[in-house]
Amino acid sequence: MLAPVSWLKDFVDINVSPETLAKKLVAIGFEVEDIHYQSRQAKKVVTGKILSVEKHPSADRLRVAQVDVGNGVIQVVTNVALEGGEYVAVALDGAVLYGGATIKRGELRGVPSEGMLCGLEEVGVEADAVEGQTKGDILRFPEGTALGQNALVALGCDDVVLDVAVTANRPDCNSIYRLAKEVAVALGKDCREPEIDYEVSDDSVNDMVAVEVRDADLCPRYMAGGVRNVRIFPSPLKIRARLRAVGIRPINNIVDITNYVLTEIGQPMHAFDRSYLESGRIIVRRADEGEHIVTLDGKDNVLSSEMLTIRDGAKPVAVAGVMGGENSGINDATTEIIFESARFARDSVRRTSRALNLRSDSSARYEKGVDFSAQEYGLKRALTLVYRTGSGDIAADLIDVAVDHDKDRKIVFTVREIEDILGCKVPVGKMKAILSRLGIAVEKGEGKTYAAHIPDAREDIVLVNDIAEEFIRVYGYGHIEPTLFAYSSLTKGGKPEFIRFRDAVKETLVDLGFDETITYSFISPSFVSKLKIPADSPVARPVPILNPLGENMSVMRTTLLPSMIETLSYNIAHFNKSARLFEAAKVYFADKQPLDDYADEKDHLVIGAYGDGFDFFALKGAVEGVLAALQAEGEFRRSELPFLHPGRAADIFVGGVKVGYLGEIHPDTAAAYDAEERLYCAEIDLVALHGAERGAISFVPFSKYPPAERDLAVVVADGVPAGDMLAAVKAGKISNLVSAEIFDVYRGAQVGEGKKSVALGFAFASPVRTLTDEEIAAEMKKILGILRRGFAAEIRR
């Protein structure tokens, strides 16, 4: 809501600076987002007088003028035709014009120039907002204008405009008058009523038009007034300047009056040219399904039977509250007008405006809500302005078709209730005084109760809580002492087990040197082809967003991998030599499409890395580290996922349940994401992992005798999975074996084609004594036996 301070002053005597006013408005709930000083929209542009003009020595079209700018005379080179003696506006050295351009002292074709003559455009003023200036010409001021003053001030553009953020519960304050009432409360001043004062002719509006409201549910009140012998002319300067100050283009006196009233009173007005209303009737009812209306903007609209129309005896003449019909509007030939001042149902206007994709200042206002009190105020104010501007002869009487409504709505409350909401002592006298200033009269009721009389304009006040808020926002929240659950019971608190589990996973990865990422949950559907996901996989059927910001953010992801690959690719492209990343986030699956209920949202984990020697085993080590921290044991089997390197891919199983995959990203997929490095990624379904069999920490006694270590190198066929060999040994009931590991794998000429040497290290220890060499040799023999039988292993020589 743009509110010129000068306009607010019509209603309240404001004696503080705009900044102080803004602070006081914020304190009672009206955030002031900007304070615009008209006089500062161009800087260092001042009034000056042309003392003399000479021709430019080397340019026919340029002139060299000596200009008196109050505190001295400067030389200005210009292409404007001057005679000398003119009063003009000059941008001085260092001036900043409207729009941001700066003016510097310089030379034009060899002649120094210390400024520039300015027109309306340079100071950001429209010709219709000021008197006596012409668009395209330089600014010209009357003889005797004081020199050296701010040119905008000299133009009369010295208003200050507040941009006030009005919350959705206060639609009434989208008007200067209602906002002025709040200003009055904030400043502790009185607020004047809008001036209503006009004379009427003998003819009644009832002779001009008959109004019939058939769908009162969508139009609880319809008021109309008439004007005969209408004269169309440009509005007086004050109206034009004020409309411009709030961003509305002046059109003519009648249209300007409707806009002025909309801004000042908050009541949308519509002016019909009576000659277009067939049979002199106005009927308010829902449209016939499928009928057409061409609106003022030239658009042909097809209406549905849910949309409210204003019609004459034959046809729709306006989409109620949204826009008038093409032919019913005011033009220079208009002689009789009917002012409409109506209350239309808020939600109906909103739906209609959206369905037709038709917006206007009226619809924007109706969508916020127009209260019962505004129709009469608005109409009478419009007629007052018709009278003041001499725009026509006002017909006697007003038409008022309204449903009954409770004109004296009351809320009964006790002071104790208010205190229980706020948690502070409420002084009764103070409370009554504050509410009274807000227009809410409070009277004592039975027992300890009070009754608050709610004015029509305050449809937002329906509960005791609303009364509490009205009181405290003026009284000040600073009166409330902070307490910590003064009357409450204890609660347990804490994080649910799954969140703690997920936290543990994330902490482990951070400990292992991985940085956490957060990426968008919606991605491009192209991931399906880039990852070569089979069409019958649920992963290939992500939930689409109906109104996405773009194709690349249009589906809810079913896998975290594409986001991770993109992040890795981004880092590669931004000169980062390596990255080790992870993200724990949700993926979204739909049981059926289109989705009509909650999705299946699951927590996943993705790990991704490249560079700095990172390889498959570094990735696997990270996954193993995560599993170890959860007391889970992973089993890794070769994977055939299409987006992974076929020789460097594994599915991850825990307790026999598949929980994810890991591997090097297939070069085709990496290339599809423009990643010019080998990428290593793993994705784990955290819900599956959480549900999989995991151990618990349980103490195992260890030997106090020194362990005996033995190594064994065996040669096996190249295809034998070394992990299986280790697993077989561990499962082989070897006495006193405390650790077993693979410490080297060798392929080469020494072991022969198609073979490899696997070096294993073992440690033995007994809990009760030192083992003898013979005992250990016997166990090593058993181990060799296991490897021979299971893997055709030979001792390497």
Binding site: I421, N465, A486, S488, G493, G494, N576, Y588
Partner: protein, 339 residues
């Protein structure tokens, strides 16, 4: 004999004081006290001394041996200490060289802030809950007192999945889920992703909120204020002050914006707080009784407060991050700063 003892003793003590290394001292020990050392040889001669003289000579002999051993041991300690000092001096390192360490990773700043905030509320007896991001219109709007076609819908642009299905625009729908399933006393914080179709330097279409909800008998604005005060003191510093000013949310009444004194300038006014000394922290209020009733909690018996804050905003204030886009680019040079 006696003079011979004095003589050897004298030689031994002289040799001890002449020795400068532990090796030399060891040689002295061998020369005098070794198996065939000079002093040992004298000891062996004691048998040849007459019976009468033997106690006296024996005594002198013993005293001489103690004197030599004492001197030797003192000299050895001194020399060893000197040698150790020399060795340690030679082992000196340049302490300004960088340490060797295994780099840990970093939590995303949003996570870092979230966990800090959760910790504060966990300490006040709040539990943590999460909820669905694809949410029904009923929970995202209607149960929060925003019927269809209500102007308050303009406060939050919305991504739609279906006619009655949206990407949640705030974490508030979880208030309704929790109130519908749990009985007071309720104290819960709900962190999570939320979605709004805004995309510019200060808006991301995805961002994070933490919702707070407390429902019990006689919950007041004072409790809300106390709770937020505790929160701000722990998140920023103990001198941080909270200020409430009136605002509007459909699901709270009264509604407030809570400002905190600027953590950068401590209220003096700076670039971060645009000279006001205050930064906007979060929106909050007393749960609208209509919302309690819609969610099956008797508003005559219970009241509650709720608040919602944007994590990116807080992180931007706390860490001085200039642009919200940085959170989602995930450049390692950004992420690495939050170790």
């Amino acid at each position: 004999m006696k003079s011979r003892i004095d003589e050897v003793k004298g030689e031994a003590l002289a040799a001890v004081s002449a020795a400068e290394t532990s090796q030399a001292l060891n040689e002295v020990r061998v020369r005098f006290l070794g198996k065939s050392g000079e002093f040992t040889s004298l000891m062996k001669l004691l048998g040849t001394v007459s019976k009468e003289e033997r106690p006296e000579v024996g005594k002198i002999l013993n005293e001489a041996r103690v004197a030599i051993e004492t001197a030797l041991s003192a000299a050895t300690s001194a020399v060893e200490a000197k040698e150790q000092a020399a060795r340690l001096a030679a082992e000196a390192v340049d302490v300004t060289l960088p340490g060797t360490r295994r780099e840990t990773g970093a939590f995303h700043p949003v996570t870092k802030i979230r966990e800090e905030i959760l910790k504060v509320f966990l300490g006040m007896g709040f539990s943590v809950a999460e909820g669905p991001e694809i949410e029904t219109d009923l929970f995202n709007f209607q149960l929060l007192n925003v019927p269809k076609d209500h102007p308050a819908r303009d406060m939050q642009d919305t991504f739609y999945i279906g006619d009655n299905l949206v990407l949640r625009t705030h974490t508030s729908p979880m208030q309704a889920h929790i109130m519908k399933t749990e009985k007071p006393p309720i104290r819960v914080v709900i962190p999570g992703r939320v979605y709004r179709p805004d995309d510019d330097a200060s808006h991301s279409p995805i961002f994070h909120q933490i919702e707070g909800l407390a429902v019990d008998k006689k919950i007041t604005v004072g409790d809300l204020q106390g709770c937020l005060q505790t929160f701000a003191e722990q998140l920023f510093d103990k001198d941080t002050k909270i200020r409430l000013r009136p605002s509007y949310f459909p699901f709270t009444e009264p509604s407030v914006e809570a400002d905190a004194t600027c953590a950068i300038c401590h209220g003096k006014g700076c670039r971060v707080c645009k000279g006001t000394g205050w930064v906007e922290l979060l929106g909050a209020g007393i749960v609208n009784p209509a919302v309690l009733d819609m969610c099956g909690i008797d508003s005559k018996e219970y009241s509650g407060f709720a608040f919602g804050l944007g994590l990116e905003r807080i992180a931007m204030i706390k860490y001085g991050i200039p642009n919200i886009k940085l959170f989602y680019e995930n450049d390692v040079r950004f992420l690495g700063q939050f170790r």
